[in-house]
């Protein structure tokens, strides 16, 4: 969050990074940098992935068996690690997504009435 010229950016809520990684990998396997890019791009650069937490998060997801890792080649023809969603991860994504929707819906309902009164 260094410069003012960039858009207003929001740091990720605790725990949501896992969800976003899973959702990104639903589109297909990707390497670390690509995942960051995708999240930032798809959120119109609003969400800022703290890159320091990306790799620990990936490792965590592998350990839980929600994603797997395979060797691949990156854009600039280098060897790279590609992360792929597993079946288990797909189920987890569905569960997490509906949980998130419930959560954001609830937050929205709480915030709405004040707006209506105005």
């Amino acid at each position: 969050m260094s410069t003012g010229e960039e858009k207003e950016r929001i740091e990720l809520l605790q725990g949501t990074l896992d969800l976003l990684i899973l959702r990104t990998l639903l589109l297909g396997p990707a390497h670390g940098h690509a995942i960051t890019k995708a999240i930032e791009f798809r959120s119109d650069e609003v969400l800022q992935v703290e890159q320091g937490s990306l790799y620990p998060a990936l490792h965590r997801l592998i350990k839980r068996g929600w994603i797997s890792v395979e060797e691949g080649t990156s854009e600039n023809n280098r060897r790279a690690k590609f992360y792929r969603l597993t079946a288990k991860g797909r189920k987890q994504l569905a569960a997490e997504t509906s949980k998130w929707e419930k959560f954001s819906g609830a937050i929205a309902r709480i915030l709405r009435p004040t707006e209506e009164r105005e």
């Binding site: 790799y55 620990p56 592998i62 350990k63 890792v69 990156s74 600039n76 690690k81």
Partner: protein, 874 residues
């Protein structure tokens, strides 16, 4: 760590490089220079090491790895400042060691269960007659039989009687401690014999002549031979068959040599001083049982008029045993807890000071990305290392202390108001004590380890780093923490020293209290005539009296014996009690007179001279006061005051038990004697001439100019010259008797003194530490003040005032806390009030003085400051 994780982690470096590479390229595409692009990518990625560590944490029990690092780091830190480490460990060792020693004492004495089935449901049953002032006396055989018939709240009742027997045949005659028991012994306690068997329920007749040996006696007399079963031994002239051996741990309940069964007929005739234990039913409380017992005693009194006004007293066996020593031990536990807190405060103080000194190191680590959690852990680990080292040294100290304590803790302690003793198990460091040491070490580590964490981790990193090399002030928070600690420890020290001060006064007053006789150079021993034996020469009362007379004559002839006498009970000895009701013949038999009760003593004429009990009026007994002459008695002054008020008792007559007995004329009044304890009041006592009231067992009291132990062999030989089969037992100098009945106070007194001294020393060190640290911090300020013309006395006042302020607040708090706490020790105090103003004032003064000395040393150092050096340094 899993293999998969290992591979991922080893590739992580490469992966991160790749990531940054890609980001850099993108930045270049956005139009940055190569250098800018790389820098931006790196900045965006963040702390690479941290990322790697976080990823590692996913796969490993990383705390375990870091723990190892932290421990190594902690050890290095402690080695770096050996002075600090040594002082901290020593302080903790004192605290932990003292606690462990006292805990092992408490654990052995108060917390261990007796080695018996359902030992927590066993109760001792006494009877009482409060109108006569008898709070606990042993019941009669008939009481036991009535209870056994009628009481509902007990599963079972057990009856026993302590006694002594003479073992003859095969070596010297020996007086053994015997126990007569009902035959439900084995079933009642649920203990197995070590060897052989116990009595069967129907082996109640004396004809069987069966005996069970105690473990100690079996070891001593039979060298632990298993062949002992079936052998015979001669006890009181009769031949008994040995059928079993008791397990060794039963000795803490019954410290006897031999156990024989009660004869059923004999049981009905036994009229007092028996011991009865009951085992409560599982769902019956002590209160229920007690109330049933009082109803029952009322019913029994209607059938047996001699039990009128009697009640039953139920006390759990386990607590009755330790009743005497418990208050002393609990007091020590509180005291030693205070000591530990002081030790903690001191070490906490040291750590806080050190943490302030390490602020720059810590700030640097925070700036380099150390997490708060990790730093906290680091601090805790350092303090835990200290605590464990302190605990280990404390264990050594505790081993030594228990060894010393074991010499002061008596093995036999009195049972209050019951003329009885119980034996205590020997104390030792056991597994629970080790666990206790570990726990309190870690707990203290946690306690003082958190202090510096709270107070150092809240500073502003930038501020600290900017201060650079300047010897900076530590900031208000550090000072406040340290100030609080000093106040707390001075307050605790005041409490401990006041407790010790009270104990010192109490104990010296106890020892100085006049027992009514001269206790110096007195030897006592007990003799029991063997008139239980079939062919005993002492069956007839006259012959008993004559036998004691012959022993006395022989003993009086021994060189070094100044005088000697026999008495039924030695004052203060708790050997026995003899109490009865009486009527005064000259008074009308008013209903009230039924409740006149007094202690009774049969003594030989020289008793008063030997004990140096003063004769106040009339005369003492002579050798002519025998069975052929008119019955006479002496009374003590307590008796005279209580029952005769301002009348002259001389010439009046008392009838012991009731008015049908022969009247005995009061011929003299002697001084009062403390019979039951130095802290007790004298009880009304009637003395009878033993020639008119012969006994089977009497105690010899000998006054000698020589040390009692050196004259003992000659006295024994004198007795044996009269009857070479006469056993002699309970040989004790009066000093030993007095030290036994004051043992609880003695233990509390000695131990509390040591604790108080340690507390005072630790508090002084604490005050010294804080003051000298403050001087170190203000050295610059002091230099400036001196340069500006401040006098030496001003500087001295400045420094001392700072330390004394804290100490004074501590003293005031300590005095207030003592007001609340010292009443806990009221039961142990004698002749001094728990809030004795003199003690309080003296201790306050002492502590202020100690604090002054502790402040004065650093203050002197402040005076040596050379202002020029300080200013130039600036």
């Amino acid at each position: 760590m899993k293999r998969r994780g290992k591979r991922l982690l080893s590739d992580l470096d490469q992966e991160i490089r790749e990531h940054i590479e890609l980001a850099t390229q993108e930045n270049i595409e956005r139009g940055m220079t190569a250098e800018q692009a790389r820098y931006a990518a790196l900045r965006k990625f963040g702390n690479v090491t941290r990322v790697k560590e976080d990823a590692r944490e996913v796969w490993t029990k990383v705390w375990l790895e870091q723990l190892g690092q932290d421990i190594r780091f902690g050890l290095r830190q402690l080695r770096k400042s050996p002075g600090f480490t040594a002082i901290a460990i020593l302080t903790l060792a004192l605290g932990v060691g003292a606690n462990a020693a006292i805990f092992s004492l408490v654990n052995t004495v108060l917390l261990q269960h007796l080695p018996m089935r359902a030992s927590n449901r066993l109760v001792v049953i006494w009877i009482s007659n409060l109108k006569n002032g008898w709070s606990r006396i042993g019941p009669a055989g008939q009481d036991y039989l009535d209870w056994k018939d009628q009481a509902q709240c007990f599963e079972d009742l057990f009856l026993f009687e302590h006694g002594t027997g003479t073992v003859t045949g095969g070596g010297e005659p020996e007086q053994v401690a015997g126990l007569r028991v009902t035959t439900n012994f084995a079933e009642f306690f649920g203990v197995r014999p070590l060897l052989g068997r116990y009595f069967r329920l129907d082996e109640t007749s004396a004809r069987h002549n069966l005996v069970v040996l105690s473990y100690a006696y079996w070891q001593r007399r039979y060298a632990s031979s298993p062949a002992v079963l079936g052998q015979s031994m001669t006890l009181n002239g009769e031949v008994y068959t040995i059928i079993g051996v008791l397990p060794s741990d039963l000795a803490t309940v019954f410290p006897v040599d031999v156990v024989v069964p009660f004869d059923n007929d004999w049981l009905k005739r036994a009229d007092s001083d028996l011991g009865v234990f009951g085992r409560l039913r599982a769902n019956v409380t002590l209160e229920q049982a007690s109330s049933e017992m009082s109803v029952l005693m009322g019913r029994i009194a209607r059938q047996r008029p001699d039990r009128k006004d009697y009640g039953g007293v139920l006390v759990p066996l386990e607590s009755a045993r330790v009743e005497y020593i418990r208050p002393a031990l609990l007091l020590l536990l509180v005291a030693v807890g205070c000591l530990l807190l002081i030790a903690c405060a001191n070490v906490g103080n040291l750590l806080v000071s050190r943490a302030v000194g390490r602020r720059r190191e810590i700030a640097a680590r925070i700036a380099l990305g150390a997490g708060l959690g990790r730093l906290t852990r680091q601090f805790l680990i350092e303090s835990a290392l200290l605590a464990l080292a302190g605990g280990a040294s404390g264990l050594l100290l505790a081993l030594w202390t228990t060894y010393v304590l074991a010499r002061f803790i008596p093995t036999r302690i009195p049972v209050p108001n019951a003329a009885d003793y119980v034996s205590l198990p020997s104390i030792h460091i056991s597994a629970p004590v080790l666990v206790f040491i570990l726990l309190i070490s870690l707990l203290t580590g946690l306690l003082f380890g958190l202090l510096p964490v709270f107070q150092t981790l809240r500073f502003d990193v930038n501020e600290v780093l900017k201060e650079a090399g300047r010897g900076s002030s530590s900031g208000p928070r550090g000072n406040r923490t340290r100030a609080t600690l000093v106040i707390v420890e001075s307050a605790l020290a005041v409490v401990l020293v006041i407790g010790a001060g009270l104990m010192v006064q109490s104990f010296s007053r106890l020892l100085q209290s006049n027992p009514g006789f001269n206790s110096n150079h007195l030897l006592t021993l007990r003799i029991k005539l063997a008139n239980d034996a079939k062919d005993s020469p002492y069956k007839e009362p006259r012959r008993q009296a004559a036998a004691f007379q012959r022993f006395l004559t022989a003993v009086q002839a021994v060189a070094g014996v100044q005088s000697a006498a026999f008495t039924e009970i030695v004052p203060l000895s708790q050997d026995d009690m003899d109490m009865a009701q009486f009527v005064i013949q000259e008074e009308p038999p008013a209903p009230r007179s039924q409740h006149l009760a007094s202690d009774f003593r049969d003594v030989t004429p020289d008793f008063f001279h030997t004990m140096e009990i003063p004769l106040l009026h009339g005369r003492v007994f002579t050798e002519h006061d025998n069975l052929d002459s008119p019955r006479v008695v002496l009374i003590d002054e307590t008796f005279a005051q209580r029952f005769f008020h301002d009348q002259n008792p001389l010439g009046k007559h008392v009838q012991i038990s009731d008015s049908t007995r022969p009247p005995r004329e009061i011929v003299g009044i002697v001084g009062a004697v403390l019979d039951t304890g130095l802290d007790q009041r004298p009880r009304p006592t009637i003395y009878l001439p033993s020639l008119q009231s012969p006994d089977q067992t009497m105690s010899l009291v000998v006054r000698t100019a020589l040390p009692p132990s050196s004259i003992l062999p000659a006295i024994k030989n004198a007795i044996w010259s009269v009857d070479r089969d006469q056993p002699i037992f309970n040989v004790r100098p009066m000093d030993e008797i007095i030290s036994s009945i004051t043992s609880a106070q003695r233990v509390a007194f000695l131990t509390l003194d040591v604790f108080a001294f340690l507390a005072l020393a630790l508090a002084a060190v604490g005050i010294y530490g804080v003051t000298s640290y403050a001087v170190g911090q203000r050295i610059h300020e002091i230099g400036v003040r001196m340069a500006l013309g401040a006098q030496r006395s001003d500087i001295l006042r400045l420094v001392i005032f700072q330390g004394m302020k804290l100490a004074s607040v501590g003293v005031v708090i300590g005095l207030l806390a003592s007001l609340l706490l010292t009443h806990l020790m009221t039961g142990l105090l004698f002749g001094v009030n728990a809030t004795d103003p003199l003690t309080f004032a003296a201790v306050a003064f002492l502590l202020v003085w100690v604090a002054l000395v502790a402040c004065h040393i650093p203050a002197r150092r402040a005076l040596r400051v050379d202002p020029m050096v300080i200013l130039r340094y600036e």
